[in-house]
Symmetry: C2
Subunit: 461 residues, 2 copies
């Protein structure tokens, strides 16, 4: 059977695939630091050449920032669903400071033996060069066995993911027709646990708000005014204290509009994941979940909205003591959103809810920060079930449909800018230390990641 | 009558008294800045010479910091109560920055005509050189008329009042026998209003606490942990929000132990003061008193305890947004104390009250800041009524027994270290801008202050 031949080819040529990844990892493509702009261009060119070797029509496409790499390829068809697939990854990496915390040069990557197996150590190994190469290597093995790519493929690699993706939406809009495909595959996430593959189907959205409570028109002395003059820190504390009720439910009117209940199938699957709550919290020194009391921690993280104070300040915060009664107090608050929650409606309701609580003489001013709606993937599309089965064949356990507590805006952009659904499949592990010193990618993840994509391509392409 | 002669002498020699004050004001005796140490010593020496001219046995007494000036004098007796009086003031001054906000050199004092009369402009004019010289000038006029001081007098002038008085208690203890007198007169406070003299009889005490709420053992990402991990800012807000109930009453158990009700006579007097609440709050942009709802603003400020958050901070407080779920949150809290409230008992009760509210996984650590008990002067001592009458004769309206919202520890130290009661009489006005640029002392206050002391000495010495 031809898939078996592809998988065998992947196994035989793993050393060469590894060499190619190490070569790419040696290019310090740190996107946020202008000093590395030439290295970013070099990484893009390296990928263009590699895509051309694979038979893609590929080019490095200029943007006001770092270039995009776009490649188009086609082949005889894998005998799967015949979909036109777009693959997304990013070739830029995080900065490496503090360098002193690295065991070796972050851009002199090395395969190391560890107690938990072989790892590829180096900046970008997991985020995202190692992951994006899993897909290219799957294509390479396919072509070696079959003489052509497995079907109609578009490759779309960004160089600004670690620096806010300023060029992404404009580039998508300018090249919408060219980039359109049946579905996007995004490889920038992780496994559920060490041996359970995952498709991320729910991403929380985000709303950021910053408020300043104003009371007296100047800072006062608490000896002269304390007791008679209203303290804005007291007002702010009262408002923040009322943001959740005793059971953890958020009190802003209308906040839960658009928050659906989890489909039974997903709930059942999550229960079967045997997520280790105790370890998850224990790893950061905690033991008791703090969210809504009638929800499991996985639900709290993946499918329930939150309100968190990310910063608070007011009055004197230096050494020693100053008996000031401040004129202002400040907080930064973020809401994680799910389902169909409308960020702009919540912003309006939240501001009104705060303003309605202000006592006499007290006013509030606002600074709105960014918003993104929640992402809910189209799991009713048969491509999802097909990918789930393919991943299950490789890893021995069915892939889990998981949520992600954070916000990955790219998935939403494929929908809003290009009208495409997206599927997030990745092979990272929790201990990969992405964004941190000594980043690594397990050789097993790299290897089985390539094999996973071969299986997915066989079903979808 | 001999007092009339003294008062006439004061009026006649006011220009010379003013020249002496201007000479003292030219010495930049900023105690907190080591660069001015020699100037502090020079101011002390100037005062020693002036006291010696008045017939005091006086000396500049070294301390680890700036010197104390101590003088002892006696005279034929003014025919009053024959008390041995100790007079306290301080010759050091506040720093002058920002210099650009001064209309002239702070240490080149000048008498200026203003819409509200003549003022003595310069650093230290009101706080406290102008005030301390009122007493010395009264003694000088007395001696000129009578040939001797009005009675047994000790003069005690400090040079570190504006820098925390580090040498004061040790010096008091080492020289307790020498400094002991029947009562202390402290001249470092103000009139009640422009034409109403005051004796400050109630000073609020102070307790400072700083707390850190600890949750996870590191800062977390609110995407990965938000909802499931407890946020210490939320815990802190809840605690601070519960510090007062809806009517403004402080909720720490036992907090009101030792808080007495105001004596009827004092309450009646305060009501007769026609304190302008609207103007007091309006001057700082407020309109509604924020303290206990069944108390007048004067009571809130002078005779009721408070709990105020003077500083709060936690999480990300810089520009932009960071979705951090912090490991810690912090607050600085001060309590103003009255009556017989015990600062140490309140510290214990407050800490327990906070600790009892902590949810699972959350701990608190404490940093205790300074305490001072409230000061309640011994107004049953006939010296108070005598001084009140004397002041009333000079100003045309009886002196008010007033409270002070702030803490002036010196009054308490006379009691605790030397076993003496103290009486706070001063002639400052609200617009004197002490501690600020363009400090001034009204010439009228200087003149009538000298005359006031002559009248007080006539009754007490």
């Amino acid at each position: 059977m031809s898939l078996d031949a592809v998988l065998a080819r992947i196994d035989e040529t793993l050393p060469q695939a590894l060499d190619r990844l190490l070569e790419l990892l040696r290019i310090p493509s740190i996107s946020t630091d202008p000093a590395y702009a030439a290295d970013c261009a070099r990484a893009a060119d390296w990928l263009v050449r590699d895509l051309q070797d694979l038979g893609f029509e590929a080019a490095s496409r200029p943007t006001p920032g770092h270039p995009m790499v776009v490649g188009h390829g086609s082949g005889n068809g894998a005998g799967g669903a015949g979909r036109h697939l777009l693959f997304y990854g990013h070739y830029d990496v995080q900065p490496v400071d503090p360098l002193t915390l690295w065991d070796r040069d972050p851009f002199d990557p090395q395969v190391q033996d560890t107690a938990r197996g072989k790892v590829i150590r180096g900046r970008g190994s997991a985020d995202d060069k190692g992951q994006l190469m899993t897909f290219l290597e799957a294509c390479r093995a396919w072509k070696a066995v079959h003489g052509s790519l497995p079907g109609k493929l578009t490759i779309f690699l960004e160089g600004e993911e670690e620096s806010g993706s300023p060029s992404l939406i404009p580039f998508m809009r300018e090249n919408a027709a060219e980039l359109h495909a049946d579905i996007a595959l995004i490889c920038d996430t992780g496994l559920f646990d060490d041996q359970t593959p995952a498709i991320t189907t729910m991403l929380r959205g985000l709303l950021g708000e910053e408020l300043t409570i104003h009371a007296a028109d100047k800072d006062l002395h608490s000896g002269s005014y304390g007791g008679a003059a209203i303290n804005p820190i007291r007002v702010l504390s009262k408002i923040l204290a009322g943001l959740h009720d005793g059971s953890g439910r958020i009190q802003v009117p209308g906040f839960y509009d658009g928050v659906g209940e989890l489909p039974d199938a997903i709930r059942a699957q999550w229960q079967s994941l045997s997520f280790d709550h105790a370890k998850f919290l224990g790893d950061v020194g905690l033991s008791v979940p703090a969210g809504e009391q009638d929800r499991t921690p996985l639900e709290m993280l993946w499918s329930r909205p939150t309100a968190e104070v990310n910063g608070i300040w007011g009055g004197y915060t230096g050494d020693g003591f100053k008996t000031v009664l401040p004129a202002e107090a400040h907080a930064k608050i973020s809401f994680r959103l799910v389902g169909a929650q409308d960020p702009e409606a919540i912003r309006v309701n939240f501001r009104k809810w705060v303003e309605d609580q202000l006592p006499a003489d007290v006013t509030v001013t606002w600074k709105g920060h960014g918003t993104s709606p929640a992402g809910v993937m189209a799991i009713e599309d048969p491509a999802f079930e097909a990918a789930r089965l393919a991943l299950g064949e490789e890893w021995g356990v069915p892939a889990a449909y998981i949520g992600c507590g954070g916000s990955i805006p790219i998935a939403g952009y494929f929908k809003t800018e290009l009208g495409m659904d997206a599927m997030l499949i990745g092979f990272g592990r929790d201990d990969d230390q992405i964004h941190s010193p000594n980043e690594k990618y397990d050789l097993e993840c790299f290897h089985k990641g390539i094999r996973s994509w071969a299986r997915v391509l066989a079903r979808l392409a």
